[in-house]
């Protein structure tokens, strides 16, 4: 089924925020249909894409995710009437903000996957994994975090210099 498994030097970490009614069920269908996709994705279930706060996406990147996927019901199919429309508006604006801040938008993907689209789930996850793998690790947030936080080491030259001055 699989061609020769390639060894990669870098395995990206993908976090998927999905709604429980469409995309989570779609991913379940991919499982029951025994479709295969890269194991890089971790799925977080929400009742609705409308519940997904953009802060979660930032948090995911901050925690070392290399790619983030947000997926819910197709427009008009929302179990909660209109949650996905709110999500769509929110993320349209949020993408602009991320772009302005300098995050490569290729790391962040939005899609609609219905409960019947197991195949589409596999496609979306595989594509995003491959794309992010090619881009390499997401280091911007980690570097920022290192700059802002004390690393915990007590024998840095800077500290020693400071001690000497006392």
């Amino acid at each position: 089924m699989h061609p020769e498994k390639q060894k990669h030097t870098f395995e990206p970490k993908i976090i998927a925020f999905v709604c429980t009614w469409c995309t989570y069920a779609g991913a379940d269908l991919a499982g029951t249909s025994r479709m295969q996709y890269p194991p890089n994705v971790r799925v977080l279930k929400f009742p609705c894409t409308g519940r997904i706060d953009p802060v979660f996406i930032l948090k995911a990147f901050q925690q070392g995710a290399d790619g983030v996927l947000v997926s819910g019901c197709h427009p008009g199919d929302c179990h909660y009437i209109a949650g996905n429309f709110h999500a769509r508006r929110r993320f349209a604006v949020f993408r602009k903000l991320l772009e302005f801040v300098g995050v490569d938008l290729n790391r962040l993907q939005f899609s609609w996957v219905s409960a019947a689209e197991g195949g589409k789930w596999v496609e979306v996850v595989t594509d995003l994994t491959e794309k992010v793998r090619a881009m390499g690790p997401m280091t911007e947030f980690r570097e920022l975090a290192l700059e802002e936080q004390w690393s915990g080491a007590i024998n840095t030259p800077e500290l020693e210099e400071a001690y000497n001055q006392i």
Partner: protein, 665 residues
């Protein structure tokens, strides 16, 4: 300090084939907070569940993570088991290591690592889970039915027969709706009045049904199980309790030439009237716009002749508040009008058919009144213009329906069948006449429907022409019908005596305004939207409100009656318990932080967010905050993501829980 129990399922071999379950159990066991971890062949089996229950009691577990299949499959199973062992069911979470892991990966090492991470994520999440009590809402076991057509009547009778009180509200002076106007019904050709009027009488006599005719819904407040409905009972000017229905007032009324809406304006009625002889209630109403007494203050004849003294010119509109637990909306339909519509309306009208100015071009409902034995012509098919019998009659289907250029793209569903019926009725009444039908397609799905349609052609000699009509115009006393026959590929011109248009079924005028009062959603045509097109076709997304009949979409009588009974069954299900239980996945407002911006209220699709006043002990207003009504909340969490001060939290999906999961990665 949490004592979490983790249970890894083999699912036979489904999981253990690609995931090293023992290693997962071992590694997860080392996570902080995990007090117990084990693996078992079938967690969902009886021994598996007993293992879980035993471990909870023996190990004094505070939280549980079951790593097995999708929560969509067995979450309920394990939460029940956890509850049986004495823990709150919402302290149990499932980690999906089958559909999302073992079934979609082949490499055992990779799959095992992923499984450990998935379980680890759920362990972090479950630590933040809170005890959620089941929410119970009291239920008022009375129901409101809006609309007294066949849908409303059927729903009201079903609910009332089950022993629950029903408030039936009808806008017109009599119940009966459109079905009471019909002559005979397809596919059996039984007389509509004969099957309808007994049901109307049943409604009037039912001890559990309170009937408000000539009344409208003014205001709807509350939520499932607890609605407060304000009904405006319009002034009838006749006391219903005193009136005996003798009809002397109607005989004596000097104003006699008012077109009767019930007869599609073909017949005339007095200013004090009942819309039709079998009306329920059989209490007349004074049409104040046309009554001399109300216009000039003179006359007053009806009051003088009324034996019981029922006529009351001073009567005023009354507002009545009724508490109900469920609402059935059955407001029905109206027909597309080919006259020119005002600018901005989606409906365009038919200029090519003379915008309704040719007197002998009528719609299907007018034909029904002509064919009805109780109609203005006593059942004779006569032209409205000169009262002659039409010898050539043309029926045109799909007027407005399936015509995007006219503003409507849907199929009205009933026209193919009623046009076939019309050709039969015509043939039965005008033996030497000829009926022609212009049609696009004949859509006749339904029990005995296609046979009926074929009968109109094969036995009743209707000539069906596949094609549309481009123009109608008056020529002498004939109407020239210019159409095309696409089966033969020629232009057709027929000089008809009368033309009947099968105009589209549309929602009642004002359907949108009522929907806004009820807080239910509607589509671009103003048809009310069901919660799910296939699996919840009679429920609105707004809890406690149900749909019946053509207000949801074009429907024939059997479908309408089925849906009305289904809606009644839903109401009875709701009323079967004294208290309504629901999943406690609802939003909650942290009032201390709420600034009262009500951004949450704007995004809430359920109308669950209310305004709540916070007052000090002296009763001074401190601030107004949002309050989420747990009976109405759908649990989507859109409010929480929207709240700028992060003061709404969706139980079961709090920020804390989500962030804990992200941080576990």
């Amino acid at each position: 300090m949490s004592r979490i129990g983790v249970f890894i399922c083999h699912c036979g071999e489904n999981i253990s084939r690609t995931v090293d379950v023992e290693r997962v159990a071992r590694e997860v066991g080392l996570l902080p907070g995990v007090a117990f971890s084990t693996d078992y062949k079938y967690m969902c089996s009886d021994p598996g569940q007993n293992l879980l229950k035993k471990a909870i009691q023996e190990q004094k577990l505070s939280h549980v993570v079951v790593a097995a299949c999708s929560p969509r499959m067995h979450e309920r199973t394990f939460r029940k088991a956890v509850e049986a062992a004495g823990l709150n069911p919402f302290l149990c979470e499932m980690a999906n290591i089958r559909e999302h892991c073992s079934w979609v990966h082949e490499n055992k090492e990779e799959a095992t690592v992923k499984a450990v991470e998935i379980v680890g994520m759920m362990v972090e999440r479950v630590k933040k889970n809170r005890v959620l009590p089941t929410i119970t809402v009291p239920v008022t076991k009375r129901s409101l039915v809006i609309g007294g057509g066949i849908a409303g009547i059927q729903a009201a009778l079903d609910i009332a027969d089950a022993g629950h009180e029903v408030i039936l509200v009808e806008r017109e002076p009599s119940i009966g709706g459109h079905m009471a106007q019909l002559s005979e019904t397809f596919p059996t050709l039984d007389c509509s009045q004969c099957i309808m009027t007994p049901k109307m009488v049943d409604v009037a006599n039912h001890p559990k049904i309170r009937l408000y005719t000539y009344s409208e819904i003014e205001l709807v407040e509350g939520y499932i199980g607890n609605f407060q409905v304000t009904i405006r009972k319009k002034a009838r000017s006749v006391d219903e309790d005193k009136c005996t229905g003798c009809g002397v007032c109607m005989e004596k009324c000097p104003i006699r030439k008012i077109p009767n809406k019930f007869d599609c304006n073909l017949g005339m009625r007095p200013a004090i009237y009942v819309p039709f002889p079998q009306a329920v209630p059989n209490t007349p109403v004074i049409d104040r716009e046309n009554c001399t007494k109300f216009k000039t203050g003179k006359c007053g004849l009806c009051q003088k002749v009324c034996g019981p003294g029922a006529v009351d010119y001073e009567q005023e509109d009354r507002l009545i508040v009724e508490p109900v637990g469920a609402i059935v909306v059955a407001t029905g339909f109206d027909l597309y009008n080919i006259t020119e519509k005002p600018k901005g309306s989606m409906i365009k009208g038919y200029g090519e058919f003379g915008h309704g100015k040719i007197p002998d071009v009528i719609d299907g409902m007018t034909f029904e009144r002509l064919a009805s034995a109780s109609g203005p012509t006593g059942g004779k098919i006569l032209r409205p213009s000169d009262g002659k019998e039409p010898k050539q009659i043309v029926f045109i289907q799909c007027i407005g329906s399936r015509a995007r250029e006219k503003g409507i793209s849907y199929c009205s569903k009933v026209c193919c069948m009623y046009t076939a019926k019309h050709t039969m009725l015509y043939h039965h009444k005008v033996h030497d006449g000829q009926a022609y039908v212009f049609f696009m397609d004949a859509r006749t799905p339904g029990k005995a429907y296609d046979e009926f349609w074929r009968r109109s052609i094969e036995e009743e000699e209707a000539v069906y022409i596949r094609g549309m009509v481009s123009r109608l115009y008056q020529k002498g006393d004939k109407i020239v019908v210019m159409g095309s026959d696409i089966a033969v590929g020629v232009q057709v011109e027929i000089e008809a005596d009368m033309v009947v248009l099968a105009t589209a079924v549309q929602p009642q005028a004002g359907a949108d305004a009522l929907a806004q009062k009820l807080g239910i959603s509607y589509d671009k045509y103003n048809f009310y939207s069901e919660a799910h097109a296939k699996l919840r076709p009679v429920e609105c997304a707004t809890a406690g409100i149900y749909l019946a009949g053509a207000c949801q979409g074009p429907k024939d009588i059997p479908d309408t009656v089925s849906q009305a009974s289904a809606a009644a069954a839903k109401v009875m299900t709701l009323f079967a318990k004294d208290k309504l239980e629901r999943e406690p996945i609802v939003a909650r407002v942290r009032e201390a932080g709420c600034v009262g911006c009500f951004a949450c209220k704007k995004v809430c699709a359920y109308g669950a967010v209310e305004e709540k006043e916070i007052r000090d002990r002296q009763g001074n207003l401190i601030k107004v905050v949002a309050y989420v009504n747990p009976g109405v909340c759908g649990g989507c969490g859109t409010c929480q993501a929207t709240c700028p001060s992060k003061c709404v939290e969706l139980d079961g999906y709090t920020d804390e829980q989500i962030v804990a999961m992200i941080e576990a990665l």
